[in-house]
């Protein structure tokens, strides 16, 4: 009722209102523009995070030798191109921080959350468009603060993205002073941005679904973003609190995490991982939603077990609050607690398995079209299976005693975050690009990018399991300092070469984006013959999304190859007079 009124007002708005350059491209309140802004911000940050990774790979393969082309970096950050230990520590800290907080989250939640939610639920914009704009710009400020930490004396944070206290709490322990402070401040600011975004998403999804868009008719990508927004709303304040306490310890002379003053170092880990584990699912749930939508569309089949898929995500979200201790099995936490966290962690594997089996079920008797987005979505499934299965070893407390803090963990997180989230991001960008920019991405470039990325990714990260099994500690600057790691060095070199190929392949993706933005084939309204509501809007949709009335929904999102119609898709908004009641 009130939302219909709001829709009417927005609709009127859309018809006669030409906005200037600044209101359209910079300080836009249009959810689609904000989505695109998040995308470009994240792609920019990805290039920096990726560069850090490349430098680390050089150091690991060829320890303490000069990186070609980096002789210009001033001391003490590099010595004629050679990376000193503290710079190396800063690199893996900033690589993870940037990739997690400024790439994966802004693309999945900031870009696709913003772009897709109103379009897929049949709303003309977010519930709070100005708050939405503020959310992006606060996020951009957070990013600038993070980048500025590269230029302060002492360099950027070097205590790992997990910033375990007391290492992070006392400047002399790392030799990093303002870099670490700015790291805390940036993430506090980013937390405010996320909070604004998540409140907006939740309100929009709860209140602004179009007529007929019941919860169980929402596409799974919207379900995933809805659940993610709830996790964000509840998890980020915990991180913000921990960061504030850490800043007090660093700047205010308090001892929250310092034992000398009666503080408790493990408190940081509890707070960090109480946020950190839901955070892991914040980064994978939207990827699961994207994958579900892409796989159903290109299999031309309903998603297998739609309700089971939604319930599995809800199950993951609940369980994600009671597994944080599995990051702390060897931390000195009571081992009896470790046993209970082992049990909950084993159980959280179940909904993930359910989702995998349902994706396979969706392929069964489908009519699979191998487009570039589909290839990326399928490789999400294949890589997520590896990332999920390797988690079982870590969940098992005695085995974790050996592989904790080794490359086995690095392999696992990259199979989940790169093999999982990032492949889903490639799929999502290629799938929704026509709707976002009105042009198709180049399929051939997309497939070349996919093939090289898929092979190079596996050559980079699979051997890390072997390093981990050999006992290779993570966050080690020079493996050759250890006798037992010397035989593993050829594997490190192989990984680095693969990583350079992987890094280089991303320029193909970037080139495809730039080329397609300018020269791509003009996209029709519904180029993939998909069912969901965004494909009933123009490509790209104007202000207010739909030219006429907002579409009304008559059925679920995955009615592909329905026996009710001759063609192999049946949009949610198409009215079939005689059978529409029976379809419910």
């Amino acid at each position: 009722m009130s939302s219909t009124a709001a829709v009417a007002v927005h609709g009127a708005h859309a018809e006669h209102h030409e906005l200037g350059f600044f209101r359209t491209y910079i300080f836009s309140t249009d959810h689609k523009m904000i989505g695109r802004q998040f995308l470009f911000l994240a792609l920019f940050m990805m290039s920096i995070g990726g560069l850090m990774a490349m430098l680390m790979r050089w150091e690991l393969a060829f320890p303490e030798t000069a990186v070609p082309g980096f002789g210009w970096v001033p001391e003490p950050y590099m010595y004629e191109g050679a990376i000193p230990p503290n710079t190396y520590n800063s690199m893996f800290t900033m690589h993870a921080t940037i990739m997690i907080f400024f790439v994966i989250m802004p693309i999945l939640v900031g870009c696709f959350g913003n772009f897709l939610i109103p379009l897929m639920i049949g709303a003309r914009d977010m519930a709070f468009p100005k708050l939405n704009m503020l959310s992006f710009w606060v996020g951009a400020v957070a990013g600038s603060i993070m980048l500025s930490s590269f230029f302060v004396p002492g360099g950027p944070a070097a205590a790992g993205w997990t910033s375990y206290a007391p290492l992070s709490a006392v400047p002399v322990y790392t030799g990093v002073d303002w870099g670490q402070n700015l790291w805390c401040i940036s993430l506090i600011v980013l937390g405010i941005s996320s909070l604004m975004g998540s409140i907006n998403y939740i309100t929009t999804i709860v209140n602004m679904r179009t007529k007929g868009m019941y919860f169980f008719r929402m596409p799974l990508v919207i379900w995933s973003l809805f659940i993610t927004a709830i996790l964000l709303l509840l998890a980020l304040p915990v991180l913000t609190t921990a960061l504030a306490l850490l800043l007090f310890d660093r700047l205010g002379g308090t001892h929250f995490f310092l034992p000398d003053g009666g503080g408790e170092p493990l408190l940081w880990q509890h707070l960090f991982w109480f946020f950190g584990h839901p955070e892991v699912y914040i980064m994978i749930l939207p990827a699961m939603g994207i994958t579900s939508d892409v796989i159903a569309t290109f299999s031309r089949k309903p998603i297998f077990g739609y309700r089971a898929m939604a319930y599995a995500m809800i199950g993951i979200a609940f369980l994600s609050w009671i597994v944080w201790g599995h990051h702390m099995f060897q931390s000195g936490m009571d081992p009896a607690l470790g046993t209970s966290f082992m049990l909950t962690t084993m159980v959280i594997g179940v909904p993930s398995a359910i989702k995998t089996f349902n994706w396979l079920g969706t392929l069964y008797k489908g009519n699979i079209h191998y487009t570039a987005p589909m290839l990326n979505a399928l490789s999400f499934v294949a890589m997520f299976v590896i990332g999920g299965l390797s988690g079982i070893w870590m969940a098992c407390t005695p085995v974790d005693m050996y592989i904790h803090d080794t490359y086995f963990i690095v392999a696992h997180i990259h199979y989940v975050l790169f093999g999982g989230s990032l492949f889903a991001i490639f799929a999502a960008i290629e799938y929704w690009f026509p709707k976002m920019f009105g042009r198709m991405m180049n399929e051939t470039l997309g497939k070349i990018h996919f093939s090289i990325t898929f092979v190079a990714f596996n050559c980079t990260f699979f051997p890390m399991h072997i390093l981990g099994m050999g006992g290779h500690m993570r966050r080690i600057y020079n493996p050759l300092q250890y006798d037992f790691l010397k035989p593993l060095q050829p594997i490190q070199i192989f990984i680095s070469i693969s990583a350079f190929v992987l890094g280089a392949a991303q320029f193909i993706f970037l080139a495809n984006i730039i080329w397609s933005l300018a020269r791509g084939k003009k996209a029709s309204e519904n180029p993939w013959n998909a069912n969901t509501l965004e494909w009933t809007a123009p490509s790209p949709p104007g202000h207010g999304n739909w030219v006429g009335a907002v579409p009304v929904v008559y059925r679920g999102p995955y009615e592909y190859s329905s026996p009710e119609v001759a063609e192999d898709y049946l949009p949610q908004s198409r009215e079939l007079p005689e059978v529409s009641a029976a379809a419910d």
Binding site: Y164, L167, K301, F304, L360
Partner: protein, 221 residues
Amino acid sequence: MLEHLWFPHDISTFGPRIDFLFELIFWIVVVVWAAVMITMVIFMVRYRTRPGRKAEYIEGNSRLEMVWTVVTAAIMVTLALMSRSTWADIKEHGPPGQVFFNVTAKQFNWEITYPGPDGKLGTKDDVTVENEMHVPVNQVVRIDLTSKDVIHSFFVPNMRLKQDAVPGRIIHVWFEATEVGTYEIPCAELCGFGHSGMLGHLTVQSEADFQKYLKDTYSGQ
């Protein structure tokens, strides 16, 4: 099998139990992974698009959902229950100690404190050396582990043993080495710019050699 999978040679009494669990999970994972991948590839080839073909309209199957939920849950819970006792024996209790040390981590060394000629820790004649830990073979060693500054992690790959050293806490660690030799003790938790290269050595000796080492070390004081 594990030594073919790059695992370091095991010299601890609890190592085989950890390796057993690793291998058990390994085979479960290999079977599940192969089953999922084979199914996926078969579906991908068989149901690829061809002209004139239409997908079959299947929305799901509740019985299948039940089966794979229950089977997965049963495997996972069984694994957790099987791991429980191994974990408890290593980290919660364990056999009574025969040899006692203190280990204090600091940026970027391991300080090993031996009890001194009186055989008691915490007395004036205790002897502390850096990074050199000598233990007798086939005896239960108990360590009180702590840190002076940041969190470190006491890691002996050849014993599958890892335990964080936390400032302000004393954490009890035990092990029993079964083979004479020298092994590395890297730090496994990021502890600052000297983290890479923070390395101690564990020398496992016969009882006689160990007593001689203690005597030499104590008289060197």
